[in-house]
């Protein structure tokens, strides 16, 4: 307790120290910049950043005069490129980097801004409401995202059950088992498969899988969570295989050779050395595949029924209900407005948050793997 108090008392001091340090570093940097850069180049930098900033602000307020700062930027840049090429290039590359980061921030900002009305209207109900009506413009507008979240969860689980085991088996096969010649055919082949557009998978699913389940398994409707999840799983397969295979390949050859030299068979090496060592990378691949499956839009949009509701029991994957977060946005986004549109944006926020969590998780896992295996570097 006293320790905690002591820490709290120290806090302002520490804060002040870190701020002073930061200020000092900035001053140092500014001094270096000032002494190493010609006056003209500094003026050019100022003009460039000012024109870009004005462009952004004018664009944000949708002014027709946005074109003026753009022209100013081009003129300054052209002149700067002629006089101080190195400084101009540095400023330009810095600007592109900032633009990349700001695109993500803009995405987050605009999703949040546009989903604010529905949250103000319904509160947390937008995520938790399970009573009828779930999705209607009557009664002042009731839009509950819960059935879509359940739908996304169900299809993602099915897709993962399909893609994870088969994908890992594929990765083990390509990286450990296949002879060189087979690998040189199979690996580019799998990468090619990753390129097949999702709408094509959806078309096949619609004409074949949906029909198949409708006729043979007598599902109540054309299009079920199971068929869509199966198709999404097949789509996510190449991603899982490619990333997991990269991870297994990254396990240093010396570790494998050591195991082989101790007299273990190749499979024992794979099972007890390579896979455990590459496990974090493999799980990163699976997480990435799950993220892809979750964000997959077109196949599900084409295949599902767009009926919103909860199957009972929840794991009845052959029910007549079929709507996920992505499909509702794609299907209704074209002609929605007002609260309805805002609800779709809220769906986008939920989707974005879930996928981002998976992405950061897989990056963390991969970083851990580098920490573990990169010891010799």
């Amino acid at each position: 307790m006293t320790q905690l108090l002591g820490q709290t008392r120290e806090l302002p001091t520490r804060l002040r120290a870190s701020v002073t340090q930061r200020v000092e570093a900035t001053r140092q940097w500014a001094h270096n910049y000032r002494s190493r850069t010609q006056d003209g180049a500094i003026a050019m930098h100022g003009a460039i950043f000012a024109s870009v900033f004005v462009t952004f602000v004018l664009f944000l307020v949708a002014s027709a005069w946005t074109v003026l700062p753009v022209l100013a930027f081009l003129v300054v840049m052209g002149f700067g490129w002629y006089r101080y090429q190195a400084e101009a290039a540095k400023a330009l590359t810095f600007l592109t980097t900032v633009a990349t980061v700001s695109i993500l921030s803009l995405i987050i900002a605009f999703l949040l801004i546009r989903s604010e009305p529905i949250v103000a209207h319904m509160g947390l109900d937008v995520l938790t409401r399970i009573e009828q009506p779930l999705w209607t413009s009557n009664q002042g507008g009731v839009y509950s995202l819960t059935p879509m979240m359940v739908g996304t969860a169900v299809t993602t689980v099915i897709a993962t059950l399909v893609a994870a085991p088969i994908g890992i088996a594929g990765a083990v096969f390509v990286s450990e088992i296949a002879p060189r010649r087979v690998r040189e055919v199979v690996k580019p082949g799998i990468e090619l498969m990753a390129g097949i557009p999702s709408i094509t998978y959806g078309f096949i699913g619609l004409t074949i899988l949906n029909q198949y389940f409708y006729e043979e398994f007598r599902t109540p409707t054309l299009g079920t969570y199971f068929a869509a999840g199966l198709m999404i799983g097949i789509m996510a397969l190449p991603t899982v295989v490619t990333v997991a295979e990269d991870a297994l390949n990254a396990v240093p050859e010396s570790i494998k050779s050591g195991a082989l030299a101790m007299g273990s068979t190749p499979w024992q090496t794979t099972k007890s050395v390579t896979i455990p060592a590459g496990l974090s990378g493999v799980s990163a691949g699976v997480l990435l595949g799950v993220g892809r499956a979750m964000g997959e839009t077109m196949a599900a949009t084409v295949m599902l029924t767009h009926t919103k509701g909860f199957p009972s029991p929840v794991f009845d994957v052959f029910s007549n209900y079929g709507e996920t977060l992505t499909t509702v946005i794609a299907f209704e986004g074209g002609n929605a407005s007002g609260l309805h549109m805002s609800a779709l944006f809220a769906g986008g926020v939920v989707l974005f948050a879930m996928v981002m969590m998976l992405s950061v998780g897989s990056q963390y896992v991969e970083w851990r793997m580098h920490q573990k295996l990169g010891g010799e570097r």
């Binding site: 090429q85 980061v101 082949g189 990056q363």
Partner: protein, 534 residues
Amino acid sequence: MSSVTRNRLVAGDSTTSVLVARGVLAASALAFFASWLVLFQWVDETALVAGVHVLKLLGVALVAAGVGLTVVGVGSRLEYFESTPSSSAGLPVGFVFGLLWAVLGGLVATRLLGNALAMWLPVAAGFGIVGLLVSVLPREDVGSTLPVAAILVLLGGYVVVGGINAGWTWSPSWSSAVFPGSELVPLLVVFGALLSAWSAAKAREGFGAEGRQSGAYYLVGSVVFAMLGVLALLVAFIVKNGLETMLTRTSLTGGHLTLPFVGSVPWAEFPFLMNQTGGLFVEVPGVLPAVMGTLWLVFGAVLFAVPLGIGAAVFLTEYAERGRFTQVVEVATNGLWSTPSIVFGLFGLAFLVPRISGGNSIFVGQLVLGFMLLPLVLITSREAILAVPDEHRDASAALGVTKWETIRSVVLPAAMPGTITGVILGVGRIAGETAPLLLVFGGSPYPSSYPNVLGSFQFSTQPPFVTNDALLSPASALPYQLYSTITAGVFPKEIFTNTEFGWGTALVLLCVVLGLYAIGVGSRLYFRRKLHHE
């Protein structure tokens, strides 16, 4: 092991067991393929082969495999056959078998005793424990064959005596679907065949470490084979369905080309690629507007994303110190890379549409696809720049060349191949992207003209001084065309149905995308090989 060292004095005989194991493998492979044929409905469930129903034949194959496995396992345990088994099959195998046995027990119990939880749960648990003990307690040769053989014989026998036939159905209360025997049997046989192949492959190598390797390789190999088979079938299916539509009225000399001075000469005719989709006077509707739309989209996206991506990559690798800032950029890039495409569409709808065109337009589509392309360009060109050896930079600096000159004339040219590969792969990805286009790009489902972007630039004295109506109006693109064909009602022309036109569009799209991918993958292989040879 060469045959020279084989000692005739050993007690057991190994050739018989290898022969039996091979027989089991062959039976499993046959059953595996036959079941897929039935599942894909290339063979009718009720078809007769040599006077016997197909499903019963599958059952016979399972029973035969089970008997063969019993012979090998028991023979090895009684030392009739030479083998090198471990003392136990191991706990993981035990758990898998326990689980399988529990499922089997549960099914049997629900068939015989009814659907009450209190009835079938104890039976299932009992079966599971027996399966676990039988596979873990005895020596490996018994533990990894008998549990499998029992399952196979029970399952196959039940099918053979007609317990499940094509007309049999199972409608559990938790599911809206009905499971017919005609599909369940082949599915069960697929799993049974995988199991028996694993067990037989183990037995063929005489169990032990060698046997486990052989078993695992067989299992992984068949799973991967099935996966590649399914993927290849998908492509073949699109080609088969789309080819006829795509080649409608195609001829090598049917059309004509007007050349200056010469006049009209015979030329290849390709109506599906060269015609408008809608319009009154079009006999064979084609996908020209969609192809042009895709070209413009890709062109704009590349023009936007490639300079941004390469610039950011140069800054991150050459100028920035590794620290908080580069970490933030990395996380942002990876985040952008994994953001779902539909979210990009929403962003374009909220941010770009009201500020640029007030509605769906090509320009917004180009920008949104550019946003999606950006992280890939950044990641790949960054990797390519990092791969340029530091010696190059040092040598350049030693000659007194400035940093920027070094980047421009040493680093960037060396990194170009990798960057180009990345861009091509990324273009393949965005060319097939549909979801954002639904929200920010798409126009009429059957366009009768293609966007004339080059011809509609107009200059004025009002801001913004340059306008382009074609760029600010909606259009069609290949994936969007496919989507709108699928979802639209009746196709306006009689020559195709909606589905036929869809297959044709899908094939063109597949050719474009896979062509780009093939170029990208090929160029990467080429450059990598070149790099390794140096």
